[in-house]
Chain length 258, copies 2
């Protein structure tokens, strides 16, 4: 079985032109099959402001109404995705941009309304890897934005970390799969203000402990839940850290194990 | 050799939600390999207005400055392309959206400045069908927006009619290729105000005559030039008319021959 790397990048790379150019140059040099997943960064919020579309929040969570979905589709699948693909081509990495609608790769379900109506937000139901497989077999790299569809014609906004873990799980039946979450820190930190305090290994047991002791909290919880979801569903390796971890084996980062 | 249909649709379909839904439903039923190319319609101009970005014209031609290219990328490759792909999926037609950057399919060159600087407009230099071929062989339908790239990381705005003819020419080495330009009229008309005056066949000789007699003029000229470019470069069949011509063999339309 070949090894594939599924690599997710977020706002710290996407929102910084130089950081993105540097990352793309490095990413292009990774040998073997690979998939890139990108979040949206700050550009969607900027465009919403420019278009005078108010950001709607409920209990601290952003709501994806029809206008916001429209903006997200334009920014994520249009501007960011196509510019990343063009830059990869310039670095001799043949890439094809994807949303979950393309190739019917990621089918999701509009999140049911319980206490909060999140609007056009999709929870992943099914991953189909056929289109990815045929491209990967021809050394073409899929580049995913964080948009899925419900198979009835409706696009849906989906968390980019979730897209990365679900794609990794889907691909793990045909590849030895490694999942890398790149973000602005060196990994999961013992002390959030100390970049040297990287917890190098977290397993199910220590994760429970770290949560109980409030060392891991807030935004890190859904990210780590995605990591454990992947490692428990056949993904062979899951790492969190700065993107440098991909290119420099000495770079400290967090590895998730069962 | 299998036969492939390359079908281009424009504003009369894209700008009308019902017409688009009807077209997609019909398009999904076309058997055999097919490629869809869509223009941009009026949505880009609407978004530019909403964002207070002025439309720049020089000698009656629109200029694609950096902000306009950004809008076009968001609207064509994001909003329109992804919604068409999602609707095709809903009609059981497995599709993948493409710009010319995706799969490095269409490499273009920024139009050189002679008397007018058109800005980020690309003239097609090269078509690479590898990514299309592997998808088409798996009954996946490519859906193209009218954006190309220069292979150095720059996206470029390119005429959708030209994209359709260049793709048809590129695919003609591996398929028996038919090119269909769908627009708001029944075909090339002898009398522009009479929908019954369709000229059913135009060849190189009669085209010269029709131009000389001012029966064909203005906007039809570049469209017909694209048709003749295709038919002279190995495309087996080129037709212009309402999209009905695809689904009803009795529908009058114009066929271009050498």
């Amino acid at each position: 079985m070949k090894t594939i790397k599924v690599i997710k990048i977020g706002g710290n790379i996407i929102d910084n032109e130089e950081a993105l150019a540097r990352f793309i140059k490095d990413f292009a040099t990774i040998s073997g099959p690979k998939v890139l997943v990108h979040g949206g960064g700050k550009l969607a919020t900027q465009l919403a402001k420019q278009m005078n579309i108010p950001v709607q929040m409920t209990e601290g969570r952003r709501i994806t109404d029809a206008e916001t979905l429209n903006i997200i589709t334009m920014v994520y699948a249009g501007k960011i995705n196509k510019n990343i693909v063009a830059q990869l081509q310039a670095n001799n990495c043949n890439a094809v941009g994807f949303s979950g609608a393309d190739g019917n790769t990621i089918v999701s379900e509009k999140r049911p309304i319980k206490t909060i109506d999140y609007g056009f937000v999709g929870d992943v139901k099914q991953v189909n890897t056929e289109a990815l497989e045929v491209l990967l077999n021809h050394t073409i790299t899929p580049v995913f934005c964080a948009i899925t569809h419900d198979a009835n014609g409706q696009l849906l906004n989906t968390n980019a970390d979730t897209i990365a873990s679900e794609l990794a799980i889907g691909l793990s039946s045909i590849f030895n799969t490694e999942l890398y979450y790149c973000f602005e820190k060196n990994g999961v930190l013992e002390d959030v203000d100390n970049e040297d305090s990287v917890i190098e290994n977290i397993n199910t047991e220590s994760y429970a402990q770290l949560k109980e002791n409030n060392i891991i909290f807030e935004g890190m919880l859904p990210k780590l839940d995605n990591c454990f979801h992947a490692i428990n569903k056949n993904v062979q390796k899951v790492c969190i850290g700065k993107s440098d971890m991909l290119f420099n084996s000495n770079n400290k980062h967090t590895t998730i194990t069962k």
